[in-house]
Symmetry: C2
Subunit: 247 residues, 2 copies
């Protein structure tokens, strides 16, 4: 059995907070001890706060391009300006939706810049290097507990062919994000030829089931009982290079 | 806490088997009683078997188009022929990968036609109407147990921008597949403007974490402790119409 355990009772995160320590403390307050093999999934929004990746929109001067895009998409020009600063390129503008490619190579709405759960007049950008953020949180947890764990940083993204967003892994540490099962036998001994599973994204999606159950108040989740392969590939490995695009 | 419980010890499914009954029996043999609010996630492969959606490849005569595509993709011509019969259109051919749109509107590799876990010389197609299959399995489970449950039928699909496949919901019953959170307040009282979560896909992904832990032998999973909205929209609602395409 796999358990998805919400990390309840975390304080509002401020710049400089050590997230790994905050998560361990919140779990301990509920009598939960982090153990070897646990996976801790952390919402990007508290990583942005801890790392100071928060923009004060009133301090942002939009460029003419941002003003024009704001008019088209019916968004705040300062918000658009932040989205453009975080983008490598604009992929598509349609109605109120602005799809960009972030500097990490993620293709998503609004460069992942979020106005929710940050406070009035502020916007949260994705971590500069989400794999490095995951590594740091993992070290903090391992130092505080002595347990060997994996950490995933998640964000909720839309998909081309499917309605509704799902949580995906934008950063990870301590886990091989893609489980390559090619070469294993199937039920009848036939060798699997093409089975590669993005377990990091599946863990992120599983975590959101618990995150969403209490309004917006659960920014981290502990997943226990899932056996994964350890590794340091990072979630940047999940991003499919344009040359490999199949669709 | 949410629990992901593998349905262990299921027999090899044959045409005509009542999957809901088989799942309840396998759970009971392990001392697990299905309860109100449980979500049962079922792999498409056993649905295909129970519904007789299995092709004997030796009985298939490939068309000239299938022979040509088989040459390009280095696949068995009979397999390609089945893929084409299950497809509404070919989306893309690249190397050994053939992306099609299925008659349900799913855009995926090989029309979802699977050679794994079906037995030598056979191919499994997706259910004709996965939402109807989910409904039938749900009725069987509810009749056998008296509990009100949700059923999701899952398959593992690749994604345009991300490496590795994840499990998604191709059929569902008893659950609203997309949770529309627009209008709810965030942590700071700001109203969420665009938050719609495809919880059916997240539940399918969570289920695969348990399915993959024992070779290929876990074709169903029980998820307990997740509060969902009941509904009869079906997973066909998740498919984004071409007019809505954002990417």
């Amino acid at each position: 059995m796999i358990q998805i355990i919400p990390v309840e009772g975390m304080k509002i995160i401020m710049p400089g907070d050590r997230l790994g320590v905050e998560i361990v403390n919140a779990l301990q307050a509920k009598g939960i001890r982090v153990a070897d093999g646990d996976v801790i999934v952390v919402s990007h929004i508290i990583v942005a706060k801890a790392e100071g990746r928060i923009y004060q929109l009133s301090e942002i001067t939009p460029t003419p391009q941002a003003l024009e895009l704001a008019r088209i998409t019916n968004k705040d020009p300062a918000h658009i300006e932040v989205i453009l600063r975080e983008a490598k390129r604009i992929v598509r503008v349609r109605g109120e939706v602005l799809i960009t490619e972030t500097r990490h190579g993620l293709i998503c709405a609004n460069s992942g810049v979020d106005l929710s759960n940050v406070g009035e007049g502020m916007a949260a950008a994705l971590p500069e290097d989400p794999d490095a953020s995951a590594r740091r949180i993992r070290w903090e947890i391992e130092e505080a507990t002595g347990a060997k764990v994996a950490v995933i940083i998640c964000d909720s993204h839309g998909r081309p062919f499917r309605r509704g967003a799902v949580n995906i892994a934008i950063g990870c540490s301590g886990i091989e994000p893609i489980w390559d099962r090619r070469g294993e036998p199937d039920l009848f001994g036939r060798i699997l030829r093409s089975k590669q599973i993005c377990v990091a994204d599946e863990l992120a999606s599983a975590a959101e089931l618990a995150m969403g159950q209490a309004g917006e108040g659960i920014p981290a989740v502990l997943i226990r009982g899932y056996k994964y392969k350890t590794g340091e590939a990072g979630a940047s490995q999940i991003i499919r290079p344009k040359e490999e695009s199949l669709f």
